[in-house]
Symmetry: C2
Subunit: 256 residues, 2 copies
DNA sequence: AAGCGAAGTTGAACGTGTTCAAGAAGGGTG
DNA sequence: CACCCTTCTTGAACACGTTCAACTTCGCTT
């Protein structure tokens, strides 16, 4: 979510905050009519984003036109493009918000549970909880994220801060747990769990069962399995296999 | 690739052939001016598909307009929509073709190798070989496949025949191998390997390294790993874990 | 106060995928 | 031949995402 690097349109305006839910713009600190100095447009930006996300929720992504967003927000369509490079870029705002909500929803279980399995399970369920209201339109805009060149891709450079924040949650899952495990595995595990989380999201997007129950079952089934495999990885017979996994990961990190 | 089920536009015209590369339409059997009886439009269909795929390759998917395809093919733009529900539907033709090519490219290694690892490795590399020329535009249209509701999704009902054909390759990989393994695992392995193959494709689409070398390294690293894990799964200590994996898969197959 | 320049705002215009009412072609019947 | 009906073909028209040159607003300097 750092400044968009592609090219032209992004104004020099302030980067939208990575995790904060809503900036206290209106009356920052002061008591009365203290006008915000440099954030004149920030208000417009928020208004457009707010309106867009509401319409997305109400009508779906594809069915919401940029003209409708602009009209509903009371601005010209070109104004929306002053703050957001494209319709897809509006989704980034959605990401950030949900990312923060996920973190908040996971807080409790991370603070109380001490074992790896329930910590992981709690974080995963929290993630689904947070996203559940958007399942129908998440599926619609999901394609945007799939395009490798899109800044919305979870692997893109533009998503890097959001990705790091997400990985941080899983780092917390691992580091806060009492489990004894191979140090190298411990180092790699957060990123691996995040990758698994992306897989869960993928599964969830495709999940057509009522209330996405299959995704819940996937989590409930996969977590004990992961827990078991992590424990087993300390066995003598499995050490070479573990080393092999870690070597592969390391090998794939190279960029050439 | 069976008839599109969505709704209106698809004509009652014959389903396009699943695997055949090009129908011998022009002068079927006869010596001279023997006009094909019912396949009047089939020629147009092929012409449009051919033209589209060529332009996709030459200019990329997004850069190729429906108007350009129509013009190049010498038909009206509406005519393309008579045979294909949308621009994306043109891609299905690409799928079918590559699916057949993959099968053909895998034939040799499947006929000569007897062990699981080299069979799998050969099939995976063959798949990348076949797709390599299209890497740049595969990435572009990949998003189409990602949308769950799209008929292009590898999990969609419309893709089911193509999916089955793909899984059949991996069934061949497993059944043709001499490896001794758990019967239930043997039954599930083809589908699991196909799923892994989808993962490899996903990796490949995102792979920006020269000639997608990272994907090659992924294959070369993952195959021995899979081979090892499959062997290890027969160990006493790992039986419960294996059962747990299989139970999870079975649990997730339920549709509710 | 006057002027300047950056920030913010506008809406017509462009090219796109897609639709549709209208028509043409062709072959089977009487 | 005249008639129909199905199959096939057409291109103007529509709504959409996006661009851009012009304009306004506003804080700051002189």
């Amino acid at each position: 979510m750092a400044g968009v690097t592609t090219a032209a349109a992004e104004p020099t305006g302030p980067d939208h905050p990575a995790t904060a839910d809503a900036l206290p713009l209106t009356d920052a600190g002061g008591a009365g009519a203290d006008r915000p100095r440099r954030a004149r447009g920030e208000q417009t930006r928020q208004l457009i984003l707010e309106t867009a996300l509401r319409l997305f929720r109400e009508r779906g992504y594809a069915e919401t036109t940029m003209r409708a967003i602009a009209k509903e927000a009371g601005v010209a369509v070109g104004n929306a493009y002053y703050y957001f490079d494209s319709k897809e870029h509006l989704i980034q705002g959605f990401y950030d918000r949900n990312q923060a909500a996920h973190r908040a929803a996971a807080e409790h279980v991370l603070a109380t549970e001490k074992n790896l399995a329930p910590r992981l399970r709690g974080v995963l369920h929290a993630g689904i909880d947070v996203n559940a209201p958007y399942h129908s339109f998440a599926a619609t805009f999901f394609k945007s994220a799939a395009e490798p060149s899109s800044p919305l891709s979870p692997f893109s450079r533009e998503s890097s801060p959001a990705r790091e924040a997400a990985i941080a949650i899983f780092r917390d899952v691992v580091e806060g747990s009492a489990a004894k495990l191979d140090p190298e595995l411990r180092r790699e595990l957060p990123e691996l769990l995040w990758l698994g989380w992306m897989g869960v999201i993928l599964f969830w997007v495709y999940d057509k069962s009522p209330e996405q129950r299959r995704t819940r079952r996937l989590i409930d089934g996969a977590v004990p399995l992961i827990d078991r495999l992590v424990s087993l990885s300390r066995l003598r017979v499995l050490r070479p296999a573990l080393r092999q996994v870690l070597a592969l990961i390391d090998n794939l990190r190279r960029d050439d």
